[in-house]
């Protein structure tokens, strides 16, 4: 365990965009607090893709020529790195997709259409992202299965009693939960959820879009069956998602996207599919994106996920305390820092989040406002929208101060 704090000043030098000027007349230095939506990219990631395009760009897997071999090696090494990053048993359990959303859909279409039957229950939570709701709704419409939502209590925690009741009473066939809420920041008791599910022979899908970037994730330790996340939320490029599936399950999954590279032999009326994991990667992949992601993984590994987490805890603590001084503010999610990530959702008086974001923007501060693709949770919280600030390794206390000051300016503008 590395115990030394992270050197934010040095880290900031690695991110070209942090020098960007924004706001009225380009007068403000960018304060980027929209990391839960997507993070910024360090030079090493941008350069890795440049390097690929400038010196060994080629299609992978089928080429005998040197560029093709180099590109294939770089692509497949990334698969190994991903496996290591989340401690999968084998790189064969790692499938590259377009984003976390496609990864979830892949499982809903492939595993889901084969295994979910009429009247089966799929368990989600009220804090799921739309990407972990809509695919199951589409599936349920087809299969006439049911979706059941575990409740969220007023402190932003999952109601584990709901879970016990549902496991006992309903024909649960799948549990799919996000490890960390992108709105409340709540970190779920994954180990417990998975253990209880497995005791009932129910597999568990983990939407790790918000956890893998911020926490040490270990798929063997939690023993989850499926796990999905996106490269772009962890310093990597857009257009790359990752799906982990336990090999025993993956082996039995029918293909999803059909086409080149996922086959072994194609005949007029039938096809022999390729070995794992290639069977699930049809067509030309986002090769540059995967290679860029490789650099992002190296970058995060060099820092160490424990230090990433510690830095976020520290900034979040500081921000929560700064915000709590502001009048008429409502902050959502757990109070206890240990149970939450670096995401703070809030509302101030009758200032609508959209209006707040516009005011922030003039201060050069990028925050997110809206439903955060979590409308079921918005209904639960009985709000139309929230504002959200989310942090990453390059955010500083000074940025939090600027943010808190801008909130005061919003109060002034709204004459509160």
């Amino acid at each position: 365990m590395q115990k030394t704090a992270l050197s934010v000043d040095e880290i900031r030098q690695d991110f070209p965009i942090l020098k960007r000027k924004v706001g009225v007349g380009g007068s403000k230095t960018l304060v980027y607090l929209d990391n839960a939506a997507t993070t910024q990219k360090p030079y090493v990631v941008i350069n890795a893709m440049n390097e690929y395009y400038s010196s060994y760009n080629a299609n992978i897997h089928r080429a005998v020529h040197q560029l093709g071999e180099e590109a294939t090696a770089a692509y497949e090494q990334t698969r190994e790195k991903v496996a290591k990053f989340i401690n999968a048993r084998s790189a064969d359990e790692i499938i590259f997709t377009r984003n976390a959303t496609e990864a979830i859909n892949l499982v809903a279409y492939s595993w889901g259409r084969k295994n979910i039957k009429r009247a089966d229950t799929i368990v989600l939570t009220e804090m799921e992202h739309h990407s972990n709701i809509v695919p199951w709704q589409i599936l349920s419409q087809e299969k006439k299965s049911r979706i059941c939502y575990l409740g969220v209590d007023d402190q932003g925690y999952l109601k584990m009693t709901d879970y016990e009741r549902v496991l006992k009473k309903e024909p649960v066939r799948l549990v799919s939960v996000s490890e960390m809420s992108n709105v409340l920041g709540t970190i779920l008791p994954l180990k417990e959820i998975i253990t209880r599910a497995h005791e009932n022979n129910v597999p568990v899908f983990v939407d790790a879009a918000q956890s893998v970037p911020h926490l040490q994730v270990d798929v063997q330790k939690t023993d989850c069956d499926f796990l999905a996340f996106s490269a772009h939320k962890m310093l990597g490029p857009t257009g790359v998602g990752i799906l982990y599936v336990k090999k025993e399950i993956l082996k039995e999954m029918p293909p999803f996207i059909g086409g080149g590279d996922m086959i072994k032999e194609v005949h007029q009326q039938n096809t022999i599919y390729n070995d794992l994991p290639y069977r699930f990667e049809g067509g030309t992949q986002n090769i540059a994106g995967v290679i860029g992601f490789s650099a992002a993984l190296d970058y995060l590994a060099a820092i160490g996920m424990d230090r990433v987490r510690n830095h976020e805890l520290e900034i979040t603590r500081y921000a929560l305390s700064a915000l709590s001084d502001i009048k008429d503010i409502t902050i959502y999610g757990p109070k206890n820092l240990r149970d939450r990530g670096g995401v703070i959702s809030f509302n101030i008086a009758d200032i609508h989040p959209h209006d707040l974001a516009t005011i922030m923007n003039e201060h050069g501060i990028a925050i997110r406002s809206g439903h955060h693709c979590a409308q079921v949770l918005m209904e639960r919280l009985d709000v139309a929208a929230t504002s959200r600030a989310s942090f990453y390794i390059y955010n500083t206390r000074e940025e939090v101060d600027l943010f808190a000051n801008a909130l005061l300016d919003a109060r002034r503008i709204f004459r509160i």
């Binding site: 009225v24 009758d350 200032i351 609508h352 989040p353 959209h354 209006d355 516009t358 005011i359 003039e362 406002s369 809206g370 439903h371 409308q375 918005m378 139309a384 929208a385 503008i413 709204f414 004459r415």
Partner: protein, 142 residues
């Protein structure tokens, strides 16, 4: 610039919206939302002799979308439908005095116009498909 956007009149319409509520027995009622932020508007209309006899809206959302809806209802109340047909994006932005919004916020300002035009399309859909088509307006779609 925010000071320009959130002028007294916008905040007033936001906090004290005109024509907010429902109509009993409307001729047409329609709902839409902005997928980008979740702002919602419902429009309820009573039409008589090709005029908007009565109009009410319900909705939730940002100051811009709600003030814009409120001001729009005032603007078209008791006006001929032909006026609604000709209302442009620019008319709305001028009416609410916000001509330099960024692309994301423009959508907030125009949501109510979009819903109003949709309600006209719906109103004419069966009676007079040709007129319905006239209310289709690509400039307010997003």
């Amino acid at each position: 610039m925010s000071d320009d956007i959130y002028r007294e009149i916008i905040l007033d319409h936001y906090r004290n919206p005109r024509n907010k509520g429902r109509l009993t027995d409307p001729d047409v009622t329609i709902h839409d939302s902005n997928p980008l932020c979740g702002d919602e508007i419902d429009m309820h209309l009573k039409v008589e002799e090709d005029r908007i006899k009565d109009i009410k809206f319900e909705g939730r959302g940002c100051a811009i979308s709600q003030a814009s809806a409120s001001m729009l209802t005032e603007m078209v109340s008791n006006k001929p439908l032909s006026m609604v047909k000709n209302l442009s994006k620019e008319d709305i932005l001028e009416n609410i005095g916000l001509t330099n919004l960024g692309p994301a916020r423009i959508k907030c300002a125009l949501l109510s116009l979009k819903v109003l035009k949709m309600s006209m399309v719906k109103y004419y859909a069966d009676k007079d498909p040709k007129s319905a088509g006239d209310f289709h307006d690509e400039s307010v779609k997003y």
